[in-house]
């Protein structure tokens, strides 16, 4: 009697713990939103939102007697240009790697490559930053004749390299989820390997591949340490590939420790944080919608 009551109590406790674990991620997400917004809110009346999105004058610590300016256009273009450049490199490379691993590699090569790709994804971003600063930067400067090795191109290359493993591993899963009957049917109809990949597998795994690219994009947009070291920290709209740029994340990382807590400068950085958060949430939600799309497709196929 008492032992079964104890068992029931134990079971309840475990159930409660698991339920809480499930909800905790939602709680955390909400808490982060509340925190960022609470820190940002007091400065919102002082921010000219037209200036925020249209001016490059980011002057949070102005000279004596001057008003502060919060124009983030240079930072926003910095984030967008490095990210787009990174994606231009990472999407073809990541999808190419996924196609090879999923379709053409031998079983042994596939296992090794999958482990290596996952290892690559686990390299800390600060290490990528060092590689950008010490290895890729000097090479970029030598090849392009750029005056500084830390610039848009170096940042984009690093973000590309960082996103490849994310895209490759998710895209590979998406390709493997395409039923073998599709492959057999295509081959039986005389499709070449190229036709098989481009005409059958890509359309069939379209949503998963898109989700892979969007998650890679999410990683690139939110990346801080690597771009902090590799992009050269100049708040401007780049006019060439080798201009130094500054990203939203780098501005927050570089300035937050130095802005007195509670000051307008500190809060303005949280406004940038909120922008970034919205951007990454939008990307991830879009990716999630696509991923859910695949699952329902699979369910339909199973029926």
């Amino acid at each position: 009697m008492s032992s079964s009551a104890g068992k029931r109590l134990g079971e309840r406790a475990i159930e409660a713990f698991i339920t809480f674990s499930g909800w905790s991620s939602i709680l955390c997400m909400l808490a982060i939103f509340v925190f960022v917004l609470r820190e940002a809110l007091p400065v919102v009346p002082k921010i000219d939102f037209v200036e925020l999105f249209t001016s490059t004058r980011w002057i949070p610590a102005p000279a004596k007697g001057n008003p502060a300016h919060y124009g983030a256009l240079g930072l926003i273009t910095g984030t967008l240009t490095t990210t787009l450049l990174g994606m231009a490199l990472a999407v073809p490379a990541g999808l190419g790697a996924a196609v090879y691993v999923a379709e053409f590699a031998s079983a042994r090569a596939r296992e090794t490559l999958k482990v290596l790709i996952e290892l690559l994804a686990a390299i800390p971003s600060i290490v990528w930053g060092f590689i950008g600063l010490m290895v890729i930067g000097p090479v970029v400067a030598r090849v392009t004749g750029a005056p500084l090795g830390t610039n848009l191109l170096t940042g984009g290359l690093i973000l590309g390299l960082m996103s490849v493993p994310v895209i490759a591993s998710i895209a590979e899963d998406a390709l493997r989820a395409v039923p073998d009957t599709y492959r057999e049917a295509a081959l039986a109809l005389g499709a070449s390997p190229w036709e098989l990949v481009t005409r059958v597998l890509f359309p069939a795994a379209k949503k998963g591949l898109l989700a892979a690219c969007l998650l890679g994009l999410g990683r690139a947009v939110g990346e801080t340490m690597a771009v902090l070291l590799a992009t050269g920290h100049a708040n401007q709209i780049p006019t060439s590939l080798v201009d130094p740029v500054r990203t939203l994340t780098a501005a927050i990382a570089a300035e937050l420790g130095e802005a007195p807590k509670g000051s307008d400068h500190y809060r303005a950085l949280f406004v940038l944080g909120a922008l970034l958060l919205l951007l990454t949430v939008a990307i991830n939600v879009t990716a999630d919608i696509f991923v859910r799309g695949i699952r329902t497709d699979g369910a339909k196929r199973a029926r």
Binding site: P147, A234, N235, E255
Partner: protein, 290 residues
């Protein structure tokens, strides 16, 4: 037997420890943070002072003058090192948050040197030219306008906006408009997080122009003589030219504390101005205050 000997040894150690109490009392920790210009001086002080006294442990770090002052406002720092004067609103927030007055101590002088790559043929530059290069609305973008021996875009390397060096350079070099409004820096300057990073980057970039404290001079970069207007005699940074006021971008280096200092802090502040403390200022390439 062995155990007993250990116990006796411990007892003896305990007694002798009690006999000379300062040996075992934990050192009082004083944190000194702020100016990147002063970070070598501050770490030098911390090292020598630790050897000179047995009651105090000084931990010194950089991050920018604004960082140290922010720490002073938040109460996380005992001594803020700064390469610029504290602003009125910063004094206000310290008064409001800490309920005490700020005390200022000048510990040295510095020249803000203008650095270029050693291969650059330019030897001198004027404040008027520097303004046209660095200030918002400035039109000087190409080396050919400065020296016949060089052309190409000038690559600007500066400090981040919490830096006292950034602040002082902006005030002196960017100057004011005709209406008396301070000019800001123009966009597109690479804002670096340390003075030594400025010098290191210039050493690798023949197109670069940057500024930082005279103490960061190395053989791999070259500093320029500076005049007020083009054509006037230009002066290089040196102890003499800073002391006489001939070098146009000189500044004071400060320590800031809040409220009445504890005896230990008082002793440290006095020591930084003593010959031993000032010798470290000179050794790091700056001009002693006295």
């Amino acid at each position: 037997m062995v155990i007993r000997r250990v116990v006796v040894a411990t007892l003896v150690a305990g007694i002798s420890g009690a006999a000379c109490a300062p040996e075992v009392t934990p050192r009082l920790s004083i944190t000194m943070k702020g100016s990147d210009t002063l970070v070598q001086v501050a770490t030098g002080w911390a090292e020598v002072y630790r050897a000179a006294t047995d009651t105090v442990d000084v931990s010194a770090s950089g991050g920018g003058s604004g960082t140290g002052i922010a720490g002073l406002i938040d109460g996380t720092v005992d001594v803020a090192t700064s390469s610029r004067e504290m602003k009125g609103e910063e004094r206000e927030s310290i008064r409001a948050k800490r309920g005490a007055e700020v005390h200022e101590h000048v510990v040295g002088l510095d020249a803000l040197a203008i650095f270029v790559h050693p291969s650059n043929p330019i030897e001198h530059i004027s404040l008027a030219e520097l303004q046209r290069i660095w200030a918002e609305g400035g039109d000087l973008r190409d080396w050919s306008a400065l020296t016949p021996g060089k052309s190409g875009k000038i690559v600007l390397l500066g400090r981040q906006n919490s830096s006292g060096t950034y602040d002082h350079f902006r005030e002196v070099v960017c100057g004011k408009t005709a209406e008396g409004v301070h000019r800001e820096f123009r966009g597109g300057v690479s804002e670096l997080n340390g003075s030594s990073e400025v010098v290191e980057k210039i050493a690798k970039a023949p197109q670069a122009l940057g500024y930082t404290g005279m103490g960061f001079n190395t053989p791999r970069v070259k500093w320029l003589a500076v005049s007020i207007r083009p054509g006037e005699p230009a002066v290089t940074p040196s102890i003499e030219s800073v002391n006489s006021g001939a070098y146009p971008i000189a500044r004071k280096l400060y320590l800031y504390t809040v409220g009445e200092p504890t005896p230990e802090l008082r002793a440290l502040l006095d020591w930084t101005l003593s010959p031993a403390g000032q010798a470290i200022v000179a050794q790091e390439g700056y001009v002693p205050a006295s």
